[in-house]
């Protein structure tokens, strides 16, 4: 067990911050009887306010399910999830979760601009405010020249940027990302990672919960990494990443980065050989 070292990064020490999400002894079982499948088994962890927390694990470890439970899209089977002292469902109804999936899920019948405006339209934001926020978000993700384009006219990376703009457009306190860069090629993926950090820097109060199966991605982006094992999904270890921010591409060569990456890799492999 490694102690979290207090380092000078813009969000302060993770451990010292109050919790935004508390997951305690959560299990999730799908189906019933002999065909029941335990997706999550007694999972507990904390997400500090305004931090970037990754849930890292192989496919089948229930990490996407975990995200859906926190976002109030599915109920837990047992245990408790508290989000800012509310239930996930209450927070969902208060529209505090912006979600980005692996596929961008943009509506083909809407332009880039209209896609970003969708949540604002549903919330009932007035026209002027909507237009202001949409153009702010589109500029933030660097798509100002593509606002009138249709989703299919954009590259995969650009589509995912639209999805991020849409998720942040209505100012949710949480950004939930389910393997958002999993469908992108390696080069686009790395560019999107640093870009996400830049976007987050302009919305520093947003707490990000990020699902991934890439160790380096988790280490580069996160304040805290929840490492999970598969079938049933369990938490193996929670690791705080003390690499200072702002982090850039250079961090990938950082001694600390390599160290933490190796630690997690060892952890996962030791489990597999057991």
């Amino acid at each position: 067990m490694r102690e979290a070292i207090v380092a000078a990064h813009d969000h302060g020490s993770v451990g010292a911050r109050p919790s935004a999400v508390v997951v305690s002894e959560v299990s999730k079982v799908f189906g019933s009887g002999p065909s029941a499948v335990t997706a999550l088994d007694n999972v507990s962890f904390d997400v500090p306010k305004g931090s970037f927390v990754s849930i890292l694990g192989p496919s089948g470890c229930g990490k996407s399910t975990m995200l859906r439970l926190i976002a109030g899209l599915q109920p837990v089977s047992s245990g408790r999830i508290e989000v800012e002292r509310h239930t996930p469902d209450e927070m969902r109804r208060a529209r505090e979760f912006g979600i980005v999936f692996q596929q961008p899920i943009l509506f083909d019948w809407r332009t880039v601009e209209q896609n970003v405006a969708l949540p604002l339209q549903l919330i009932g934001t007035d026209r002027d405010e909507r237009a202001r926020r949409v153009s702010e978000m589109i500029e933030l993700v660097g798509l100002a020249d593509f606002r009138k384009h249709r989703p299919w006219q954009l590259s995969g990376g650009m589509q995912q940027r639209v999805a991020i703009a849409r998720a942040l457009a209505f100012g949710p306190r949480f950004l939930m990302m389910d393997e958002p860069f999993g469908a992108l090629d390696m080069m686009t993926r790395e560019r999107m990672q640093t870009e996400l950090l830049a976007i987050w820097a302009s919305k520093p109060d947003t707490t990000i919960i990020f699902i991934t199966h890439s160790i380096s991605e988790a280490v580069l982006l996160s304040d805290r990494i929840v490492v999970m094992s598969a079938r049933p999904g369990r938490v193996m270890k929670t690791i705080d990443v003390d690499i200072p921010r702002p982090r850039t591409d250079q961090v990938r060569r950082d001694e600390r980065f390599v160290e933490i990456e190796a630690e997690i890799r060892e952890l996962i492999f030791s489990q597999e050989h057991a």
């Binding site: 859906r68 976002a71 109030g72 899209l73 969902r92 109804r93 208060a94 529209r95 979760f97 912006g98 979600i99 999936f101 596929q103 899920i105 509506f107 083909d108 019948w109 969708l118 949540p119 339209q121 549903l122 919330i123 249709r150 299919w152 006219q153 954009l154 590259s155 209505f170």
Partner: protein
């Protein structure tokens, strides 16, 4: 490259039309050469049909309009009923499984059997035509739209849920737009069929319309025979135009679908 392909397509189409006409003349000549006194009535030469079309232009157009207008109205009614019914069906699995068998059963009813029944019920040609055209349309539309309303991927639904959008808003902003391509594929099938339905009513006791024109021409002896063919060709052209109109409407209303888009990656 595209230009050359198009030119080739046109050439092939023209060749087929000419070929069919040539065969027609040949067969008509063969029939005429036989010893059947009614030969000319059975298969008239194409130019005789064109001639007849020009002579009786007013009468033919009036009948065509009667058939087309009722078909269009029935088509519209059937479309609305079909969409409403499919929206109801996708609200719950039990509603769908309760209604779908009847929908499929309705599709099995031969129109020939349904026409006399509805004539007895409505006692009015126009009402019967509307009903038959609407009936044919509604199940093509309903079956297609039910599938279309379920076509949005699960994460899209989760996205709407994360915005706390209820059923009505999810329907309006996600499911109905997503169902547009399926709606149009249903309409493409239904449009010409609604016209056939309207004409079928004329054929089975109506007193106006293209079907009546065909029937009357047959009844009034061999001299009127070309008129049957005129009515058939007009029907064919109208059906083709209706199908084209649906395709045009789709290009205007749902240009974003994969099959229609331009400049995509």
């Amino acid at each position: 490259m595209v230009e050359r392909n198009r030119a080739r397509e046109h050439a092939i189409t023209a060749a087929i039309v000419l070929g069919v006409l040539a065969i027609w003349y040949a067969v008509a000549a063969l029939v005429a050469a036989g010893d059947d006194p009614l030969a000319n009535a059975k298969l008239p030469y194409p130019h005789v049909i064109v001639d007849r079309f020009l002579t009786d232009f007013g009468e033919v157009m009036e009948a065509a309009w009667e058939s087309l207008s009722t078909a269009l109205m029935g088509f519209a009614i059937g479309t609305v009923v079909g969409i409403v019914l499919s929206v109801v069906m996708v609200q719950a699995a039990w509603i769908e499984s309760a209604l779908m068998p009847y929908l499929l059963a309705a599709q099995m009813i031969p129109m020939i059997a349904l026409v006399p029944i509805s004539q007895t019920v409505f006692k009015n040609d126009t009402a019967t035509r509307l009903f038959i055209a609407a009936f044919i349309t509604f199940f093509s539309v309903a079956v297609a739209v039910v599938r279309g309303l379920k076509s949005a991927p699960p994460p899209a639904r989760e996205l709407m849920k994360s915005y706390n959008a209820g059923r009505l808003r999810t329907l309006r902003y996600l499911d109905l737009p997503a169902a547009m391509p399926m709606l149009f594929s249903g309409l493409r099938v239904a449009a010409p069929l609604s016209l056939v339905g309207s004409v079928l009513v004329d054929l089975m006791g109506g007193s106006t319309g293209l079907g009546y024109l065909m029937l009357a021409a047959q009844t009034f002896g061999p001299a009127q025979a070309p008129l049957v063919w005129v009515a058939m060709f007009v029907l064919l052209v109208l059906g083709f135009l209706l199908a084209q109109a649906v395709i045009l409407a789709e290009k205007v209303l749902a240009p974003w679908q994969p099959a229609m888009r331009q400049g995509g990656r």
